[in-house]
Amino acid sequence: MPILEIKNAELSIDNKKILKGLSLSVNEGETHAIMGPNGSGKSTLSYMLAGRDGYELDNGSITFDNIDLTLLSPDERSNLGLFLAFQYPVELPGVSSTNFLREIFNSRKKYLGENELSHLDFIKYLRKVAENLSIKDEMLKRYVNFGFSGGEKKRFEILQMALLNPKISVLDETDSGLDVDALKIVSEGVNNLKDKKNAVVVITHYQRLLDYIKPDIVHIMSDGKIIKSGDADLALYVEKNGYSEILNEKS
């Protein structure tokens, strides 16, 4: 059963068409990878899914667990279990990371009708989760993403994913900026969260990540559409030959 179903999505920004009839269907338990040249609309797709202001559909539909997503605000979509790891995580000066994490964690618990954790219990839990991602205590004392290195920002995104335990996660170039060891740690983190009930969509430029996070389906996106889908071998092919042949095939 598909968790996420995008049909013929069209979207423009400043009167410029960016998504031009994109369709994608993701089932429970699956891992998808989306690859594609710079500017093909991958991040735009992720913002559209998350409901960012200005990224409303011109045409087409998105459903999540059979609920029409287009009518929901970003927080409502998040509550349903949609998570986006940003390509460029946003800095929140003055907002302590620990407080931020506690706030989003408890707000999720509240939505699910589960018990919120007290400050102390949360700290204990957070330490454990952070440790698995090799995130130091010191980092949690800093402001959200503020002055974090590129790799630290990406790890912090996955830490949030682990705390929220979403049903579907879209990871937008989470591998970029990570060193070799961090890539392994982060991938393991994502794999540990994976089960039969949830799904992951990774947006990436590099096959390297897919050695760790093994995709069931790989999509090639170009000029606002998915132009080819295949199994994990498709990513290997792209790595070796680049996009040109696939793009030519289409035109």
Binding site: D53, F83, V90, P93, G94, I104, Y143, Q160
Partner: protein
């Protein structure tokens, strides 16, 4: 003479928006409306004041009558009819109270509802409270414990009787009677407020706090606070304020004076949450306040921290006169305006002594159709060899209909002094809001989070117990400003 009736419904509907908007049904003693010498005599007599105090008041009244209302602030409001105000309203109590147990249960309930239990057992450990209800102080907690170390913490009306020498010496010594229109008015009609005296070498063992509440209709609150720290004394003092939700505007014109001797330190924090009026600007408190501290001694320090979220109009400039060599003045401010609120606030740092230092951090947040002005003056006088000032003013705008203004005045008469001023204006970023909301926070939680982050440098100056309250307050006062 009973105040408007409070019903459960009223409390419920008001708590959604302005949580403190209820009023208390209690018998009150009121002077007739209006202002003349007889009213002043009435107030003075109600308080059993000595003659010198009455004379001081009458003198102030004479001067006030000849003064003009200030009009330089960037606020506008209809003319106030000073004859249409009650200058004295007090809960009726049959006799003099000997202990907290004798306080009217209705009053105790009111403060309980405001989150300020006056019962010492239930209180936040380490905070002594003076509760001022309309024109009088109704309870002061932990007085005995404080007096063991020689700290005096009592209503100023009592200090006038029990410690006349101290009051006589310092009242009006920092804020002269004729400093401005409202200080002269306050000097004539002030009804209560707190008095704090920290003897030499004493570090006050707990936070002191005064909680001001305006309850009666058409009543002005004119409180007067005087804090003196002798050599090497230390005190941290906090005031909080609320008022019922009423359609008409009410006047609050307070005077606060601080005096810091050698090596002493006074930390004064305010969480101001007077009723701000409704979305359209109807009702709300006019908060016209003069607060000033004098660093009289060498190496003394005065810090003002304020979180201003309430009032329909705020006109307030907590200031420091840095007389003692090496003395330090600090001003940390968060001013939030929403809907039709207007705030014109800031500080004055007057450097007189050598090596005096001042720091000003001001964070203005405007939403709705509100106006938010920072007005600050840094004055370096000829004697202030090697003085230093650092000012940082940041404004944050939420939406397109509000405005923020920064008006710095710098007068520097010494060449080796150093004055730095930084100012920024930013809008709350869509990107930040989206990021927070993607994590499941709704628009209001997200805004409150970002705004609290923006105010961090100021919030961290607040005593712990109140920082959490203040954080919540910021969220509440911005309700309806986004989404």
């Amino acid at each position: 003479m009973v105040a408007t009736t409070e019903t459960i419904n009223q409390v419920k509907t008001t708590t959604d928006k302005y949580k403190y908007g209820f009023s208390t049904e209690i018998e009150v003693d009121k002077a007739p409306k209006g202002l003349n010498e007889d009213i002043i005599r009435f107030i003075s007599q109600k308080k059993d004041e000595p003659k010198w105090m009455l004379d001081w008041r009458l003198e102030a009244f004479k001067k006030w009558k000849r003064m003009e209302k200030p009009n330089w602030a960037k606020v506008s409001f209809p003319d106030i009819d000073f004859q249409d105000i009650y200058y004295y309203a007090a809960p009726k109590s049959k006799k003099k109270l000997n202990s907290l147990d004798e306080v009217d249960p209705e009053l105790l309930k009111t403060y309980e509802k405001l989150g300020i239990p006056l019962n010492e057992q239930k209180m936040l450990a380490g905070v002594a409270v003076d509760a001022v209800f309309d024109s009088v102080s109704v309870a002061t907690t932990f007085r005995e414990k404080l007096s063991e170390v020689g700290v005096i913490f009592c209503p100023i009306s009592e200090a006038i009787i029990n410690h006349p020498d101290l009051v006589k010496k310092y009242i009006g010594s920092v804020v002269p009677v004729t400093d401005n229109y409202y200080t002269a008015l306050n000097s004539a009609v002030f009804t209560d407020g707190s008095f704090v005296y920290i003897p030499k070498g004493v570090k006050c063992p707990m936070e002191l706090s005064t909680y001001f509440r305006i309850n009666e209709k058409n009543t002005g609150q004119f409180e007067r606070t005087l804090i003196i720290a002798e050599d090497e004394g230390y005190v941290s003092y906090l005031e909080g304020c609320t008022a019922p939700q009423r359609d008409e505007n009410q006047l609050h014109a307070a005077v606060v004076e601080l005096v810091a001797m050698n090596k002493s330190q006074i930390k004064y924090s305010t969480v101001q949450n007077w009723y701000p009026g409704d979305e359209k600007g109807k009702g709300g408190i006019y908060n016209f306040v003069t607060k000033r501290g004098k660093c009289l001694g060498e190496n003394s320090k005065i810090s003002w921290t304020q979180v201003e979220t309430g009032s329909s109009i705020t006109w307030k400039y907590p200031s420091c006169i840095l007389m003692g060599d090496n003395s330090i003045g600090e001003f940390y401010s968060v001013a939030i305006t929403n809907n039709a609120q207007q705030a014109d606030t800031g500080t004055k740092m007057i450097h007189i002594g050598k090596n005096t230092k001042s720091t000003i951090i001001s964070k203005g947040i405007s939403a709705g159709k509100s106006q938010n002005t920072y007005r600050g003056q840094v004055q370096i006088q000829k004697s202030a060899y090697n003085a230093r000032n650092f000012t940082q003013c940041d404004s944050l705008l939420i939406g397109d209909t509000c405005s923020a203004h920064t008006v710095p005045y710098i007068n520097q008469h010494v060449s080796n002094a150093k004055v730095e001023h930084e100012a920024t204006t930013s809008k709350i970023s869509e990107e930040q809001l989206f990021y927070c909301m993607q994590r499941g926070l709704d628009a209001e939680q997200a805004t409150s989070m970002i705004v609290n982050g923006f105010c961090k440098e100021v919030m961290k100056e607040l005593p712990m117990e109140f920082a959490v309250e203040a954080q919540k307050l910021i969220g509440i006062s911005l309700e309806g400003s986004v989404g």
